[in-house]
């Protein structure tokens, strides 16, 4: 069976130990987690995690079921086949030494990146977008040389259904 990417929203009790329960579940059940982003929600007693996992159908189904079994998990939302907005932020420090800076700036503009810092031989850029967008920017920047990089992992929300009148 071929591996599939799954993006899940998990609403959990905002309590100590919850992150450990989720992380522990992934390691003890041998699940492959690609990224996990967590933060507060509109309700301060809950947090929302966005988890990206990869695996075959059986594994992905197990992940959802095992998450649901945790007492501190209030809701699991599989967004994979929904109409959702996915955003991730990346900070990338690019090597500019001996490179054509205007070419680099050209790409940063195309990707609507923001320059957050510069030094005489580096530029730090902030890029937001979905997984694909960030990957393609990184691919281009590889040719220039990436000195350092950090990504938040995606967060996602399902779009509201549009009302028709």
């Amino acid at each position: 069976m071929s591996d599939k990417r799954k993006i899940i929203g998990v609403i959990v009790e905002n309590q100590p130990g919850v992150l450990a329960r989720i992380a522990g579940l992934f390691s003890s059940r041998n699940f492959n987690i690609e990224s996990l982003a967590v933060g507060e929600t509109e309700d301060p007693t809950t947090s929302r995690m966005t988890i990206v996992a990869r695996g075959d159908e059986i594994v992905l189904e197990q992940i959802e079921k095992q998450l649901n079994k945790l007492i501190d998990v209030i809701k699991v939302i599989d967004m994979t086949d929904e109409d959702y907005v996915e955003r991730e932020l990346a900070l990338i420090k690019i090597n500019t030494e001996g490179k054509d800076k205007t070419e680099i700036m050209h790409y940063i503009n195309i990707f609507k990146g923001k320059v957050m810092d510069t030094s005489h031989d580096t530029i730090m850029v902030e890029i937001t977008g979905n997984d694909e967008r960030i990957n393609s920017f990184l691919n281009i920047m590889k040719d220039f040389g990436i000195k350092e990089m950090v990504r938040t992992g995606p967060v996602a929300l399902i779009r509201e259904k549009k009302k028709r009148d």
């Binding site: 450990a20 059986i58 079921k65 007492i71």
Partner: protein, 557 residues
């Protein structure tokens, strides 16, 4: 009210009568409160592992929640094997552990262990109580979590200052768990699909596990079997959910299952799995398991469904309700030909053993225990050959009377579990069918049995070996018996006497009944050393990972 007192009041509200426990520094305030407690009895064990297994044996035999208690650090870590054992077999226990002062947590304080961290993967849930005022709601939640849905252990870690703190006490009416809603009702559409599959099937087999016992679904399962005339096989955990002598019962399946159960499963065109989880000891090679069968899987735990094997009709919910609905909807079936075939296998390949000669055969001892207790006893087992022989040859009539560590296979489980079962069933005979290796893992609990006069009987099937491991060495490692010969100098009779229990020994077949009679007429704990044939094997056997059709057999039949 003090935290300790609040805790005891909460336990009383939950109907707790007995706690198996052991004291230590940080739980002193609680033990002080217990000192003047009238309603709840504390059974002082000799090792915390014993306390956890006792709570477990109490829970399995009564259906109630078992409670154990230990101090922080080493006390808490000594519970871990017992908690894991309960987790694997879905047993509702509450483990109360002491913890260092909240202000000391994380400082590597004396006797500090992160027990909520350690137990996280082996509990249904756990709590570190941070405030005295949180105790009542946490106790309410814990009992609810432990005993509902798919039951399991809950650990409650109680820092010393939480036990000492003083607040007003009020017990909540209900749990406050928005993330936990066990689903009991089966999906109607799925039930309808199941009924259709059942009515279409020519060679159905009902395969039941411990879930049927937990759900109390025996009567419904038997009604289903009788209505559709399907043979019933059980897992190790399911033993007792259908009486041994029911004409449709075909015994246990899997690695040491009956040939006729395994043949039936392999030939079946429909497998109705109820409260079972397709463990590898049951399925053998999953790819060749029940190759012709459609599968209906009924389980309270949706994660058990589709985990190992693809199923055609999944039904999540309580076995009792779902099976009852199916029985009401399904048409009667005869399956004459199929049953004839199954019964022919039953006749041709019975479970048997060679009982010639003077030497005591373990199977014979087990048969005699059944006879002499008229099948009324509660049986616990240790782990190894003793456990498998007990599963094969003890004739179990009722649910909750065959108690064994299935999922974890914990040596040293049976004896403390027997004490727990005895505590919950004071008038009953409780027999631990043991091995000479396993019994030494919690032998210290003899002191507990003697002190409280829990009159449990222990039948040690003494083969001088870690027999089950030796059997694997014989079959798969060219008889190289690496470190499985344990015929050390333990004199079990003297050992029993040293603890103030009765010790008995039988070395010849003709002594077996006499010794059992003597044990049964003694009002107190008895350890019986049965010197059995040393290299007896458990047959039949499906090698690990092989197909169920591939059953090895000894020279006996």
């Amino acid at each position: 009210m003090k935290g300790s007192k609040i805790l005891l009041e909460c336990l009383k509200k939950e109907g707790v009568e007995i706690i198996f426990g052991y004291p230590g520094g940080v739980v002193l305030p609680l033990f002080d409160e217990i000192y003047s407690e009238k309603q709840i009895k504390l059974v002082l064990v000799r090792h915390e592992q014993g306390a956890a297994h006792m709570a477990d044996g109490y829970a399995r035999s009564t259906g109630k929640v078992g409670v154990c208690l230990a101090t922080s650090g080493p006390g808490a870590t000594n519970l871990v094997t017992g908690i894991a054992t309960a987790y694997m077999d879905s047993v509702p226990i509450i483990a109360l552990t002491g913890q260092v002062l909240t202000s000391h947590i994380g400082n590597d304080a004396f006797q500090e262990a992160d027990i909520t961290g350690i137990t996280r993967p082996i509990v249904k849930h756990n709590y570190l109580v941070r405030k005295t005022k949180d105790i009542p709601q946490i106790i309410k939640n814990s009992f609810y979590i432990a005993s509902t849905g798919r039951p399991g252990p809950v650990v409650i870690d109680l820092p010393k200052d939480v036990l000492i703190g003083d607040v007003d006490f009020q017990y909540p009416d209900a749990p406050n768990l928005r993330g936990y809603k066990p689903n009991y009702e089966g999906n109607k559409l799925q039930i309808k699909k199941a009924v259709e599959l059942i009515e279409k099937a020519q060679r159905p087999v009902i395969y039941i596990g411990g879930g049927v016992i937990i759900s109390g679904a025996s009567a419904e399962v038997i009604a289903l079997a009788e209505k559709i005339n399907a043979p019933v096989t059980t897992t190790l955990m399911g033993i007792g959910s259908i009486p041994w002598n029911h004409p449709l019962y075909i015994g246990m399946l899997g690695m040491h299952g009956t040939k006729y159960a395994n043949y039936s499963v392999q030939e079946s065109d429909l497998l109705i799995a109820i409260g079972a989880r397709f463990d590898d000891r049951v399925t053998g090679d999953v790819k060749t398991f029940a190759p012709h069968a459609d599968i209906i899987h009924i389980d309270i735990d949706s994660a058990s469904i589709g985990k190992i094997i693809k199923v055609d009709v999944p039904i999540v919910g309580d076995a009792k309700r779902i099976v009852k609905e199916i029985v009401d909807l399904v048409k009667k079936k005869e399956h004459k030909e199929w049953l004839e075939k199954v019964n022919k296998w039953k006749q041709d390949f019975p479970l048997t053993y060679n009982n010639e000669g003077e030497v005591i055969k373990p199977q014979y001892v087990i048969e005699k225990i059944h006879e002499l207790t008229k099948g009324e006893a509660i049986i616990t087992t240790e782990v190894g050959q003793n456990q498998m022989w007990a599963a094969q040859f003890y004739k179990v009539s009722k649910p909750r009377t065959f108690i064994t560590s299935g999922g974890l296979g914990t040596m040293g489980y049976g004896f403390p579990a027997a004490i727990g079962a005895q505590a919950g069933n004071p008038g009953k005979i409780v027999f631990d069918i043991a091995g000479d290796g396993s019994i030494q893992m919690n032998i210290q609990e003899l002191a507990t049995a003697v002190k409280y006069n829990f009159p449990v009987k222990v039948a040690i099937l003494n083969n001088g070996y870690l027999g089950m491991v030796r059997q694997w060495q014989e079959l798969f490692f060219g008889k190289r018996y690496s470190h499985t010969y344990i015929e050390d100098s333990v004199d079990f009779v003297k050992l029993a006497e040293a603890y103030g229990a009765k010790g008995l020994r039988a070395t010849k077949k003709e002594e077996v009944v006499k010794v059992l009679d003597e044990a049964l007429s003694y009002n107190g704990p008895v350890l019986i050393d049965f010197r059995i044939s040393k290299e007896e094997n458990v047959w039949p056997m499906v090698p690990a990972g092989a197909s169920l059709n591939n059953m090895l057999e000894g020279e006996l039949a």
